[in-house]
């Protein structure tokens, strides 16, 4: 009986953890995408890698110097 309750508890905890991390991940991506849209595009342009070179800066990105080098509008 005790063993069954313990298993149920572990299962419920796992489900809650999985749901939380899924929601949390989604939130981060949305935040990044919105933030990236505010950056002045220097050499943006979608390509097969979904890579973007954004803003004026000092990071080397496909022959230009930018503020951000990202894929899929995300740092994750």
């Amino acid at each position: 009986m005790k063993k069954k309750t313990l298993l149920k508890l572990i299962f419920t905890a796992s489900c809650l953890l999985a749901t939380y991390s899924l929601l949390n991940n989604h939130e981060t991506t949305t935040l990044n995408k919105l933030a990236f849209q505010n950056i002045e595009a220097l050499a943006s342009g979608e390509n097969d890698d979904n890579a973007y070179c954004l803003g004026y800066g000092s990071i080397d990105c496909r022959t230009v110097k930018v503020e951000y080098k990202v894929t899929n509008f995300s740092l994750d």
């Binding site: 935040l31 990044n32 919105l34 933030a35 990236f36 505010n38 950056i39 890698d49 890579a51 004026y56 800066g57 000092s58 990071i59 080397d60 022959t63 110097k65 503020e67 951000y68 080098k69 990202v70 894929t71 740092l75 994750d76």
Partner: protein, 351 residues
């Protein structure tokens, strides 16, 4: 029996936790014995408009500023200390005499100013004359294609020192005809990456370098992390140091590196006694959060870290303005710095 199993488990856990993690191969610094806040004196410059003043170097009576994003000329020479414009050179363009990009430069003397164009894979040498208000290109060295892309360099008496772009080695000795002579070292990551990830690793470990021929110290700092390497070429030693932010963080997509951690160091200068470096230390996530709030995040470092030649932290300067490139004169205790954030592109700090 059950008790014995518990004791055994606790014993094993204690041994594991007391053993050094294999992930921390290199020493860490966390604090500096001395900290000092210093204020900028803004240099009055009304003759040249800079978009992104990235590097500065002073030699006797001439100062040169490199503008990373200038639409006309990448380099601008001034009198020093009066900062009167002499000449602009390194015209941006696609012509044979023009430059596609400018990464950095080395100012040895008025007739020995080396400039690196990574997009053309060329190092050109210029001569500037304050009397004639002229800058003339003296020679061009075409770098070998096997180097792929060179993002920094140092010209010694016998060769160029150039960081490796493919992640197989740490840096190259390249002769004055542009041919690689010797590869040295490897990227001091604490993670063992597979062969396919190495180009991405090298991009993430993009480093700024400097060399001092008097003491034989060659050092590098990472732009996208907090790692420092010191090669003592006279004693043949190699020191690696990690700061609190650790090595550059990145993700690899088809062998290309995408930074995910911090903006780290932006310049390095080695004097006869010390290593000076500009440090930013801002997380990309925090910069993006600023954009999210409708604010433009600051670009530039508010710290100058000083190490001795063995890599021991000596001094941390906290600046009242964000800066990028520096030139250090220990005799006059002066640091000249560039700032990309305002209409005050050049400033001076007394240390």
């Amino acid at each position: 029996m059950k008790r014995f199993a518990y004791i055994l488990l606790i014993g094993i856990s204690a041994i594991i936790s007391c053993t050094d993690s294999p992930g921390t191969r290199y020493p860490r610094y966390s604090t500096f014995p001395n900290e000092k806040a210093i204020s900028a004196r803004v240099i009055d410059l009304d003759t040249v408009f800079f978009r992104y003043p990235f590097r500065v170097a002073v030699k006797d009576s001439i100062a040169i500023v490199m503008d990373l994003h200038n639409t006309d000329y990448f380099f601008h020479a001034f009198t020093y200390p009066n900062w009167k414009h002499i000449v602009s050179f390194g015209k941006r363009g696609e012509g044979p005499e023009e430059m596609l990009s400018a990464e950095t430069f080395q100012f040895n003397s008025p007739d020995s100013i080396y400039a690196l164009d990574a997009n053309k894979m060329q190092i050109s040498r210029w001569a500037v004359s304050a009397e004639n208000y002229s800058a003339i290109r003296q020679e061009v060295i075409q770098l070998d294609k096997s180097l792929v892309r060179s993002l920094d360099f140092y010209a010694t008496d016998s060769c160029f020192l150039i960081p490796d772009y493919l992640g197989e080695h740490r840096y190259w000795q390249v002769d004055y005809s542009g041919k690689p002579i010797k590869s040295i070292g490897k990227i001091p990551s604490e993670t063992d990456f597979t062969q396919e990830i190495r180009p991405a690793l090298a991009q993430a470990w993009r480093s700024f370098i400097d060399y001092n021929p008097h003491n034989g110290i060659f050092a590098m700092v990472t732009q996208l992390g907090e790692s420092i390497e010191i090669y003592n070429t006279k004693e043949n030693t190699h020191t690696v140091l990690y700061g609190p932010n650790g090595e550059p963080q990145f993700k690899s997509v088809k062998g290309e590196g995408f930074p995910t951690g911090i903006m780290g160091f932006s310049d390095i200068v080695i004097t006869d006694e010390h290593i000076y470096s500009v440090f930013q230390g801002v997380r990309f996530k925090d910069k993006l959060a600023s954009y999210q709030q409708g604010k433009k995040p600051e670009d530039g470092g508010r710290y100058i870290y000083v190490f001795d030649l063995k890599g021991n932290p000596i001094q941390k300067y906290i600046l009242d303005k964000p800066i990028y490139g520096i030139d250090v004169d220990e005799k006059t205790k002066t640091i000249i710095a560039t700032c990309v954030e305002s209409d005050e592109p050049i400033m001076e700090f007394k240390i």
